[in-house]
Amino acid sequence: MVALRLFALFVLTGSVALSARADLFPYEAVGIGGSNLTIDSNANSCDTGLGCFTTTGARCSDNPDQLCNLQIVPAGRCTYGNLTSGVGPGSTSCVWPHWAGRCNGSANANKVGCLNDAQCTNAPGGDGTCDLTTSVYGELASGYAGQCSCQGTNSAAADFEIAICGGSLSVCSDGDPTRGHGGLGVGLGTEIKTGGAGSQTFANMGPSTNGSATPNSSPPYAIENPPTNFDPQRDAGSVARSPAQGTGPIHPVRTTDAREIGPYTHPTIGTVVDVRKMKVYGDSYWSDTGFASAAVTGTYNVHIVTYPCDPVVGWGPELTLTGGLYCHQLARDGVSFLWGSDLTPAQVTAYTSGGQRVCPPNCNKDFDISTMELQAFVDAGLADPNAGLQLAIQSGEEAAGRQAGTRDVIGATATTSMTYLIDTDLRCRIGGWGNAPGEVGRCNNGPRACVPGTAGDAACAVAPSNGSSCRACNGPYDATTNPLGLPVGYNTHGRSELDLVAGQRIGNIAGQPADIRVPLFVVGTTGNAAADFRDIAGEAGSTVDLADLGPVDGGLGGFASGIGAGGTFPNGTALNIAEPCCAGGLPVSWAAEQGGTVVSGGEDAFSYTHAGGTYTSDWALVYEIGPGPDGIPGCIGDNVNVLNGAAACDQRLGKTTAGLKTDGFYNTGKDDRALMYTVGAASKPATASRFKYRDAAPAVVAYFGSSQNPPTVNTTAAFTARDIRLFVDRSTDILVKVNTTVCPLTNAGPQCTTTDGDPCAGLGGDADADGVCQNNDNCPAVANPTQANADGDNLGDACDNCPAVANNDQADGDVDTVGDVCDNCPAVANPTQANADGDNLGDACDNCPAVANNDQADGDADTVGNVCDNCPTVANTTQLDGAGGLEIPPDGVGDACDNCTRVNNPRVASNFLSTNQWATLTGGQRDDDHDGFGNKCDGDFTASGALVGSADLAQYRPSSGKSRTGDTCGTLGTHPCARYDLDETGALIGSGDLSIYRGLSGKAAGPRCTTHCTGTSSVTLPCTAGTAGSCVFVFTP
């Protein structure tokens, strides 16, 4: 027996409230420190048939009103007191229920902690009535502390624990009433890691410790400041949760940290979930029970279960719950949150006994969180808008804690499923999925992730052995089709998205209540958890509350609060899920995802076949982004924030981020609604509650009653299970926030990319990993998630050799990767399709690549198109021009047709003659004496055939000074002067022309092309002349 006294901490809720909510909130199960603290806030916690349980795990009574041990029991310390010794608190540890009395019956006169007479009467031997007239704490006239002496100890208690079976009064615990000695208190709370460095504490999280070795502020025990919020009173460094502290000493705390205990009404959710808060009591020595006194450190903030759980909880072999209902029952009917982490190898070893995980005392129980923690989540959401359920509660392995890791999971489920979690395969859920795709199993004797199958079995056996069998976890079990219970998406993703989808087996658990309305369980994982809880602007209340999460069951057995009556569309029509979203929109219909087949998608339910059975949902919750006045969801004329057409469909399905958002939510006006359609007897009332979704609009949450088997397969087939948020109301009703994508869509609509399953299983896979299955991918080998297909043929743009022209045959004669129908050189390989002139033919096959000539006319058939042929009427494939080197620069007239092959005398403009009708051209070049020699090389004015000489000069001289347009030149003054315009410039025959003449003097005319310009009578070049000239050369001296 140690010196410290033990005091019990009782938490008892108000009787009225408790009785009214007996089936709603009977238990909170909160693991703290090295013990598992249960606070029975329900008068019926010792239910008939269940009774209460002692710290040793024994059932103390089946009697609901049986007074059980109310103990805070450090190991080896007194577990029950004796009022007769006179050695009360201060000398001997004793358990004393605050506000409790003693039984005054003869047989057990010294039993303390009674809260009512029945508890004494029903105690073994009978103890008469409960004397509540005295109290050492001031509540009663006199106390029993002085009469308390230790009568026994609980050697099994590693640290301390409290087992409370309540009565109608609050049950409290105090450390040391006299404050003269250290006592023990109980801390309720936890630490939430929000991902940042260090820890973050949140208000209202309950007591913590602030130790002092010599407490000196010990106000009398009293309910201080009730019902104020709980403040995190844990000073930095006082929390011992590191391995170094291990099972270190109980940390003293000041009594001033003790606060009230009793009902606590949260400003927003209290009326709903009836939060009961407990705070530290204890005047002097106050244990940081939540973090410091874990028998095995380095695992969690919480929970070393000291209950003799039977069956084992956690890392034990899978057992079907049969008789022992201790541990899991602690969470019975309540809200449970579950999170955990893999055990370290050392822990595995430590917790292994006889080849199996053992419990207690070393069972590493997951942390059941109560509504108090639920509230903490809300608070966390307030503190951090990005927080919410995603708050991965993870700690303990290191002194500074750590952020949530890959294998950490956080899940929420109704406590009813807590049983199933334990029953099914807690290993999987605690540990989450493995790190790698395919690691969807757990070894049967350890936390190691594995891939179910032979290889996985072998992997489990690798030292340190985790067993011999890799057990698949959490799949849609079916005895025939999926005996291993492989999860959806097995071997394709294998992450924890599907983890904790507890509902998948609900229907298979015999003996469970039929009315388990948990159609969907949630799992936010470390990988995809996201903030969900946000206050909806304009909604009543200014803080995040359950209204922000969805409709809340305000009463028993169903959604009520916030959910209106009725069951049809507001516009009186029925929603046909399969109907097109709207004109131009994509049809929304259901399809099987995991081997099942949708039979029908009704407006208020849908049927689904699976494993030979056909299941019809009892109800379906259909969310839609508001129909506007026209009553048509998301169509023209609706709220401006609602997209139209196909975009509206995408918006509706949460597939687009388009559209206005407000505070992270799609702002679709006030038309948002959640419509619940009902069928059958299990119908639910319809709802028009407001929903807003941060990331996406959910589509349908369908509920399959417990009679459906397997029910949730249908549900998961209905939509991707990723990022599903679950919020649990009280006992069984849940609130579901779904950030999901309806999947899959049928027809040609875009398919969903799921993270929880392979959407292409059985569909040929998805070789290009673009999210479109092979069987429907218009580019199976090229990633094109958009499936854009401009020409509408069978191939997407990304792999279409003619993306703009339909060509299903993809013919490509020149094998240049450009299909024939869009190839600008279909017979010449030109993958670049270069086309400088922009005509219809690519450069590679264009006879005039630089000049647009769609007709490709080539009169001389020399392979050079007319429009770019320097001799369009004379075949000259080589296009030689100025080949002799004397025509500088080349005049653009091919040598084959040039009337001056050594002189630059380009063709005149095409309109030259029309404005200069005195001129004469051959082949488009000036040749005003039309002898086939261009002016610039023709000084032979006399056609004498001789060299240019004096006779020609004689003709030139009288022409000097004359206008070239006249016919007044030559010796007789009758020659066309143009023939003397040798420089082809200037209006007058002048010195420039004389200069040309002098250069020609003494030479023969020309030269000109020899083939076609061989004589005046055989000029083949086209000869054109204005009115002043003639193409018939007649020389008159």
Binding site: L953, R957, P958, S960, G961, K962, S963, G966, T985, G986, A987, L988, G990, S991, G992, L994, S995, R998
Partner: protein, 180 residues
């Protein structure tokens, strides 16, 4: 005011006594007595002058080549009255051959031709202005682009009032200088 008068008078005197003389080849058409005009050239460049093509207006009627200039070819030279019917006459003074010259490089003006006139003002310009043809050529009849053309009519006899004005200007200028 006195300063202004002096400046005006000085400017007038400078204009009257100046002549353009900055180009490689300077061509002058100078009026002489009896309504005759003399076409002279001052070849300041390095190249010989091969030909001159000019357009004139006014009442020039006959061009008479300088018979003393042996470089001029009568056969290659011509004076055509308004060949383009635009009121401009075309005068060509060309050398006898590619080897000949009509004006060697010299600082002295060379008389090319004399024009008879019926009186009145005369203009002279290069044909390129009207016809896109070059005006001055070298010995090979390659165009020389650096040339100037100046018409110098007989200076009018100053009227008495003008003489007085000039005198006042000069006096004013002297006064200003003394004042300065």
């Amino acid at each position: 005011m006195k300063k202004l008068l002096a400046v005006v008078a000085l400017a007038a005197g400078l204009v009257l006594g100046s002549a353009a003389n900055a180009a490689q080849i300077d061509i002058f058409l100078t009026e002489v007595a009896g309504n005759n005009w003399q076409l002279t050239v001052d070849n300041n460049g390095a190249a010989n002058l091969g030909a001159v093509n000019l357009l004139t207006s006014g009442n020039l009627t006959v061009m008479t080549l300088n018979p003393l200039n042996t470089g001029i070819s009568v056969g290659d030279s011509s004076f055509t009255i308004d060949p383009l019917s635009i009121g401009l006459n075309f005068a060509i003074i060309s050398n006898a051959s590619a080897a000949g010259t009509i004006a060697a490089a010299s600082a002295q003006d060379v008389l090319l031709a004399t024009f008879a006139s019926t009186g009145g003002p005369v203009t002279l310009e290069g044909p390129e202005v009207q016809a896109g043809q070059d005006a001055v050529f070298d010995n090979n009849l390659v165009a020389i682009l650096d040339y100037s053309i100046t018409v110098v009519p007989i200076p009018p006899v100053p009227e008495p009032a003008s003489v007085v004005l000039l005198g006042l200007g000069l006096a004013a200028l002297g006064f200003v200088r003394r004042s300065a």
